[in-house]
Symmetry: C2
Subunit: 264 residues, 2 copies
């Protein structure tokens, strides 16, 4: 994204990247990729990112390595993509699918066929070869009302490991009830998705996605036993607890120092 | 708002009010009152409200009383209204203006004449008699590029006390440089607006606006000397510090208890 410009935001602005990401999302909204509720969800994410410090923290890096191991060990991994994910990380999601030989699946909370098609097109423009969930969303996740519960029988429905980003809590819970391993990218360490997933990457998808690609590239030549060890050592509750403590300590410190951080 | 319905959100939902408010905002967005960036800003607010506990805390109530005193003591108080404020609190902003004999002024960060007119119409539908800032935004706040810096010469430009809600940091700073007393309603205790304002109400505008109306109703019959005492006792840095500590302590407690709070 380093070469991007044209949003009229001066590079010297202390919150340049946050503002560029926001404009990307507004643009995707105008293109029909993102829904209004997705903009509100992005705002919530901005807030948590700002509380985290807008950098990938060690607890996130630990989750990223575990996620890479789980994806590499999976028999049928699937990369689930919604509007916000497509707007912010299409390129890296496509690269991840390619490295893993996994399908991408469009999966929308506010589903319309037109939006699903637009997202699939965007993924294909970024080089995606296999995009499920557009015409083939014919299987149902038990316990979720249609159309929110419709998925591809060749994708999420049969997957053993699903990567979701910026996902709704109901759906994460339903996937777990189906016995799937869920990897979530979610900036809110208190969300139901964060606490229900097997592995939660508490980080901005814009930073986490390229790091996840890197981790898969690094680990894919390693023996299965090593990947299994990484997974065995991983404790998601501990990681979430570290994330919360990090935010709380940061706020305490800021309260003591009386420092204003600018947001927005 | 108690009688409202029709958003298809079950009343039993643990986050009913948050979801109703969100739908109100999306509706106002569709009507051209709110801009996409306003939806993102609302999401940030949702996050901070959730961290605060979605209730008016003592530090907010203290600021509300001081704000009422400052508005009652003002010679030329002005109530500044932007898109999000109009969408969420038009009724109470109009009532406040009426109680104070103060004008309302439409003041937009992403200004278009059409949007300014729509917001003025909305305020008039709620009974507003004097709405400035639409055709008469001809004076400039020094240091702010046009059109962001354009205000009414009879409103914000000459005001001694300005109430702003969900405001941008640059503008708050510019108003302070003009020597005005700024009262801000802002859920982020770390924002530049929160830290630059003279009185910062760290609360959701949906809860703060009716409480501010109540406080003005309660205090308006009191002698000037009593209002001056309320203001003299008030310390905004202390209030902001209490807000930050409240959030940090709450997060620590949640981290220790391992409790999932659902957001969104």
């Amino acid at each position: 994204m380093a070469g991007e410009d044209g949003y009229g935001i001066p590079r010297s602005h202390p919150r340049y990247w946050s503002l560029v990401i926001r404009e990307k999302l507004v643009e995707a909204f105008r293109e029909g990729i993102v829904v209004p509720q997705g903009l509100i969800a992005h705002g919530r994410g901005e807030c948590f990112d700002y509380l985290i410090g807008e950098e990938t923290q060690p607890f996130a890096q630990e989750a990223i390595e575990a996620a890479a191991a789980a994806l590499l060990l999976a028999e049928h991994p699937v990369i689930s993509v919604n509007g916000n994910t497509a707007a912010l990380a299409a390129e890296h999601m496509v690269r991840l699918a390619e490295l893993l030989g996994a399908p991408l699946e469009v999966n929308l909370f506010y589903r319309t066929e037109e939006r699903a098609r637009k997202i699939a097109e965007l993924l294909r423009r970024h080089g995606a070869r296999r995009v499920l969930g557009v015409e083939d969303a014919t299987a149902r996740i038990p316990g979720l009302p249609s159309p929110r519960g419709m998925v591809s029988p060749n994708g999420i429905y049969r997957a053993d490991v699903v990567l979701v980003a910026l996902e709704d809590g109901d759906r994460t819970e339903a996937l777990r009830r189906m016995g799937k391993t869920v990897i979530a990218i979610d900036l809110n360490p208190l969300s139901r998705t964060a606490r229900t997933a097997n592995i939660t990457i508490v980080d901005n998808i814009v930073r986490a996605a390229p790091r996840l690609v890197e981790a898969v590239e690094k680990l894919r030549s390693r023996p299965r036993s090593e990947l299994e060890q990484i997974l065995a050592r991983y404790d998601n509750n501990r990681v979430l607890s570290k994330a919360l403590q990090h935010i709380a300590q940061r706020l305490m410190r800021l309260a003591q120092m009386g420092i204003a951080i600018e947001i927005g």
